[in-house]
Amino acid sequence: MVIDVAVIAFAQMPNVRAETVRNEVEMLMPVIADVRAKAGLTQADIGFTCSGSTDYLSGQAFSFVSTLDGVAPWPPIQESHVEMDGAWALYEAWVKLQLGDVETALVYCYGKSAPGPLHEVLSRQLDPYHVAPLWPDAISLAALQARMLIEAGKATEADFAEVASRSRRNALTNPNAQLAWDTAAADLLAEPCLVDPLRRSDCPPITDGACAVILASGDRARALRQRPAWIRGIDHRIEPMALGLRDLTVSLSTRTAAERAGVGNAPVDVAELHAPFAPQELILRESLGLADHANVNPSGGPLAANPVMVAGLTRIGEVAQRIMDGTATRGVAHATSGPCLQQNLVAVLEGED
């Protein structure tokens, strides 16, 4: 039996290029306070706390431990951490809530991408013997994937520009977005390539950010929130580490996760996709069965703000917020990890009428 679990609150800090004054815990505390206030809970009311972050961004071992002070972990709390995007911390919390011994969970994540050389930092997650020693940067890997899409006849540079243009235009209505502007796709195509075939506008900004979600199960969720965003399905799948073992123009792991989460079982009002690079949105749409969907990344998505370790959970939060607000009834949220969409998580969220 699956226990019904819902998102009942979401908070995020305004995304910025570089947070140069506050350290991680100082950046996170207002977000934690905000999400708990929205749920009407104190830390004592929370059964399980789970966080997502990575030491590779801060360049410090066990950096997440000092950040934990920001949630008030004393007296001792049930707590866990994943060295992943917060979306996977949410997955762990969802599993924990399935055990039935606790009814509420706080999930938070943060990432300062600015302190280190981000595109080199990301290369440290690659195969350590054959690929990582070559230091392929994240933009070059995404460009390889984009090139394969073009050569397979599945997309054009103009398609990428449409994604880039629409995402930043959508971001004009998102007060937390870092990049928002209104430029036509045709004008973006006139830009020179940054790493052929990607233009600067096809790439995400470098972002420092943090976000948090509160989950509650069953009647506890109904008591705390008038319209909870119920997680009707959630699944994550991973593909081989070696880039040469995958067809980079499709995302089989997203497709499997989407089937198991039940994306296609009913119409979708809104989708938030964690596609850091414009061509990846096209791959994800196809894999999710949302190729021509009209309402993808209304927040602007990762092209408007891409805090590493945060952008995935933000997608879940953005969908949940629309359901809690009553502006959407059924939504899909997606998070990715690893190079070229290696690992993918898909969640289906619904409101109850």
Partner: protein, 174 residues
């Protein structure tokens, strides 16, 4: 090591048993608001703790009170003397150590604070170091002061009688 079956094409070749793939990345560390106050104090020869709303004094403060999850904001200037509440005699050399072994690393609870600070214990044979020992900070020369903990060279016994430490490592009493 387990025997490896070698494909015919590699017969007679030298086996690769390990590879070395050096990595180096530079990070710009943001100390944060509270730690900046502490480090600025150190560069002026002062040890600044911060009092949390619950009353505890943390030094150095990272900015958050773990009891309440709120910022620590009230600076408290602390004396340069305290009590050794735990220690470790380091007998093993390691990369980047910069110290002659054996030496003592200690947790020093400064008078008036609730969280011990880690630093070196010197001017005391390692066999004489004990929990409850009273110690004082030895600073670098005034012109050498900088915003880092190396501005305090080490702590040394200050000659006061030992005090009773009921729980080794204890500082914060909740």
């Amino acid at each position: 090591m387990a025997e490896i079956q070698i494909p015919a094409v590699l017969e007679g070749k030298e086996l690769v048993r390990s590879v070395r793939t050096p990595a180096r990345m530079e990070f710009l560390y943001t100390a944060g608001v509270a730690t900046t106050r502490f480090l600025t104090g150190i560069s002026e020869g002062k040890i600044l703790g911060e009092r949390a709303p619950g009353g505890k004094v943390y030094v150095p403060s990272r900015g958050a009170d773990p009891q309440l999850g709120v910022p620590t904001t009230e600076p408290v200037e602390l004396p340069h003397v305290g009590t050794l509440v735990s220690f470790c005699v380091v007998n093993v050399a390691f990369y980047g150590q910069g110290m002659e072994i054996p030496y003592t690393s200690g947790l020093i609870l400064l008078d008036g604070s609730d969280l011990p600070l880690m630093h070196l214990i010197q001017e005391c044979p390692v066999d004489d170091v004990r929990i409850g020992m009273r110690v004082e900070a030895v600073w670098v020369e005034a012109h050498e002061l900088a915003p880092n903990l190396e501005s305090i060279r080490y702590f040394r016994p200050n000659g006061e009688p030992d005090v009773v430490v009921t729980q080794p490592g204890a500082g914060v009493t909740w």
